[in-house]
Symmetry: C2
Subunit: 194 residues, 2 copies
């Protein structure tokens, strides 16, 4: 195999590490297993990522970025705030399938990882998603689509929890789609309109 350029190698390592973390969980995964799955030695892995933590942090940041880029693109041509929320809801199951392994990694780490740096990057991830939804809710309140007597953080977390719950249950338990994301989001929208 010819030598990959650093950026390409980095990208390959993130993709392989995502699969290894998704399969074994953050705690049980080792840099040895990741290097092996990537077909390289650990010293070469360490040239790109100093530790398992660093790999996890890079995966989480990439996933946050991909999620927010995708959503911003989706809502770019949308009209008012509730249309934006609906567009994201409609695409969410497909978005989840595309990033299934990354979601597994993040939720697995959230459920088990006690590492401080891992927790810090997860907090940052959720704060970014929160900020994204809070700004849509504020926009809807300003334009009069949503009621003004609510703290935007409450419906923002309603949407985030819906995403976490759906991902946790539907990604992991096969044939267990007990609700549809668009229906759940219509329910939240109705609550926002009051």
């Amino acid at each position: 195999m010819r030598r990959l350029k650093a950026a390409k190698r980095r990208e390959q390592l993130l993709s392989v590490a995502t699969k290894v973390f998704a399969r074994f969980g953050y705690e049980a995964a080792t840099t040895h297993a990741i290097a092996e799955a990537a077909g390289i030695t650990e010293p070469i892995l360490y040239r790109h990522f100093k530790s398992k933590q660093d790999l996890f942090i890079a995966i989480t940041k990439q996933m946050s970025q991909q999620t927010l880029d995708h959503w911003r693109e989706l809502i770019g041509r949308a009209g008012e705030a509730s249309e934006k929320v609906r567009l994201i809801a409609r695409e969410f199951p497909e978005h989840l399938r595309r990033l299934a392994d990354a979601y597994r990694v993040i939720h697995g780490a959230l459920a088990t990882a006690r590492d401080r740096r891992v927790q810090a990057v997860l907090r940052e991830h959720y704060l970014q998603i929160e900020e994204f939804f809070v700004s849509i809710v504020r926009e809807g309140q300003a334009s009069g689509v949503f009621r003004k007597d609510m703290d935007p953080q409450v419906p923002a977390w309603e949407l985030i929890n819906l995403g976490i719950g759906y991902a946790m249950v539907v990604l992991n338990l096969s044939k267990f789609e007990r609700f549809s994301v668009p229906d759940a989001v219509e329910f939240v929208l109705k609550g926002m309109k009051g």
Copy 2:
């Protein structure tokens, strides 16, 4: 140490296994580590539980039972349906702290375990919780407190996802209580009243 009676030993093993699973995750935990933590040999452990799966299944069933018993007791003297939901919401953070390890075990397994029997008991757990909330929603619809133009499963899962999201984020990321359960539940109740 004098010999514990079978039932007491079983209870002790479930409690120790819950801590070991919570700490290492379902995949990484071993019956060896569980036996060691309980101060017994693996053959003695196997007299009570044939496998790691069996331990997990017993923990999940116990946790489902404890949750539903606690909630049924809480709402026993409540008036109408929305009061029932409020009582559960108010107690949920405390309930979560009490069963923190069991919640970690279940969410950790949900995020990583591919085992079919583990998945089957998790499905059963969520179906029981779903049934519990669906029956409260139906009661509220019948008595005219909640609107009738909604599938009870939608708000039921709104409440379940709220619980999953809150547990995942608040149990695991310290100082990250971005919303209160009672506020979130008031929002859902408002959506049910329409």
